[in-house]
Symmetry: C2
Subunit: 342 residues, 2 copies
């Protein structure tokens, strides 16, 4: 009787350098010598990613979404724990290979997990991270009235990518060159610059780039609050302000939008305009943070100032004409549809 297929997979994993000899017992013993930060996030088929997505991409997205939480704490990943439920026919080794390679580039060790067999793919990752000596933990509560509000990248692009995938866009591994090729739904007839923007949006949605370096830089600053925009700028800004005990003024024209966002939304028949999409789209996985006026993040991080924290409880949005409105907590509600961590 051969060993069960799970044991064969686990031996293959245990022999990999990226598991550092930690797999093989009922738990993994970790040599912690100071405070750590822990975060956990799930990725589920038909909720976070489409059925049939390349297992290598599922693994990369799972890791990226979790790393974004560590970035928002100013931390760096050290150990990972995985649960994976998937059909028996799932390409487990392809999934693990992708996860281990992407993690190894950051010095991450896969230290344990749990496997099971289910009709749909569902996977969770627990990450344990550390901060650099001498730096602080970033927190939502770190904001102070008067600080400038910044965003670590453009907003709304992931929402468009998700909408395109729901309309049939998919990703193929390119045959002749490295990288991936995005196939857009033919009925949308996207051409030229619009097609290029659409392809970028699909990849941005599937493979967000966690801002670990930016988080590390922020953790070296003396003050400022931070959160990652996973559920939508509106809702995450409310969380930051609430934790910091402040309100804010945000200038709608200052919100960084990717090229042709409005046109793509129009072609997709979305009810959202570009600004609403930036506020409510979610899954942007960029950092939202505050800094004293005299401090600016280095140019290489491509951050944009979008407003200012202020005293009180009100969150206000100023439009192109200077008209002020209440900034609402728009975005994903995890109990109606799924999103990030807590």
């Amino acid at each position: 009787m051969p060993p069960p297929s799970e044991d064969r997979l686990l031996r293959w994993l245990a022999a990999r350098r990226e598991t550092a000899g930690l797999i093989g017992d009922d738990g993994a013993i970790l040599p912690c010598r100071g405070p750590v930060v822990v975060t956990v996030d799930a990725q589920r088929e038909d909720v976070h990613f489409p059925a049939g997505l390349d297992p290598a991409l599922i693994a990369r997205r799972l890791l990226a979404v979790n790393l974004s939480d560590l970035a928002a704490m100013g931390a760096w990943p050290v150990w990972a724990f995985l649960t994976l439920s998937a059909p028996r026919t799932f390409a487990h080794r392809k999934f693990f290979d992708s996860l281990l390679r992407a993690g190894a580039a950051l010095g991450l060790t896969l230290a344990g997990g749990d496997l099971s067999s289910t009709p749909q793919v569902a996977t969770t990752l627990t990450l344990i991270g550390r901060k650099e000596p001498g730096s602080r933990w970033l927190k939502r509560s770190g904001g102070t009235a008067g600080e400038r509000l910044w965003i670590g990248g453009s907003l709304g692009e992931s929402f468009v990518g998700r909408s395109l995938i729901e309309r049939g866009a998919r990703v193929e591994r390119a045959r002749s060159q490295p990288g991936r090729r995005v196939i857009l739904p033919a009925d949308l007839r996207l051409r030229g610059a619009l097609a290029r923007a659409a392809k970028r949006a699909v990849l941005r949605h599937l493979l967000p780039e966690p801002q670990l370096e930016l988080g590390r830089w922020l953790a070296r600053q003396r003050t400022g609050g931070a959160i990652d925009v996973s559920d939508g700028l509106g809702i995450d800004l409310h969380r930051l302000c609430r934790a910091s005990g402040v309100g804010c003024d945000v200038a709608a024209p200052a919100l960084p939008l990717p090229p042709l966002l409005g046109e793509l939304l129009h072609r997709l028949g979305s009810r959202l305009g570009a600004t609403d999409c930036a506020l409510a789209g979610g899954e942007d996985y960029v950092l939202l943070f505050s800094l004293p006026s005299e401090v600016e993040p280095p140019r290489r991080y491509n951050c944009y100032p979008i407003g200012r924290l202020r005293r009180g409880r009100r969150l206000r949005l100023t439009d192109e004409l200077g008209k002020k409105a209440i900034l609402r907590p728009t975005g994903w509600d995890h109990l109606s549809i799924s999103g990030g961590g807590w």
Copy 2:
């Protein structure tokens, strides 16, 4: 616009004593000051528990299964991280209330997690534990040829409980007294002692009792290997022996069976006899461990000697008549159906 329902649930959680102020950022900062052990396990509807099971019981089972892994490491739980995917109509607060209460009895803090909405219930728990000062970590590799093999409780009962549930057994909260009432499938016509044994089996399956105290006692002993029997004695014994680099002799008549196990299997129309069920049933969540001949676990832990570790690689089973056979790695294979951790 009211805050999203997720934020309302998280505020309720954050205000609970059992979350110790750790919920509210993108990650939880834990004051580790020495090595910790980490384990993660999933519980999924229709794989690990039946659809419609009381949310309070799902939470208790999730916790128990994870605690059993810590018990097998000789550790005690300190922090927990949860992921929960469930329908919007799921009784989230009932689930959390049950989890927090059961955890609080052990000094466990719920430090973070991730919520999402899916048609079926799927939940994972990551536990971080510590060992007592001066004790060792229990490991699968701790066994030595010549040591006696022990099991921390009876085998096969959980399998019968699972089979009864598949045949329609269910649990109701008793109205007039504390505790739970098991309703057996009427067509099996179980009466008297057989009905009582069947009800115990259903509760044993749904609410295993992790052997934390026994694990802690074992961790204070000088030597010996340990694993928790989650996938089946056969498969888990192979894992213990492989990690320890030994073989073993097990006496089939010494395997502790619950009363009327064979009769219940017969009534259920199972192809398994009592001994095969004890070897392959799985989800027993008792500790399998080895100790030098001169050391015996205290009587209060109700442990049974079942054989001995020996040199070499062979695992042998001796039957009632003294006939020896190969002991096969029988039990659940997580890649064909789900089970414990790695």
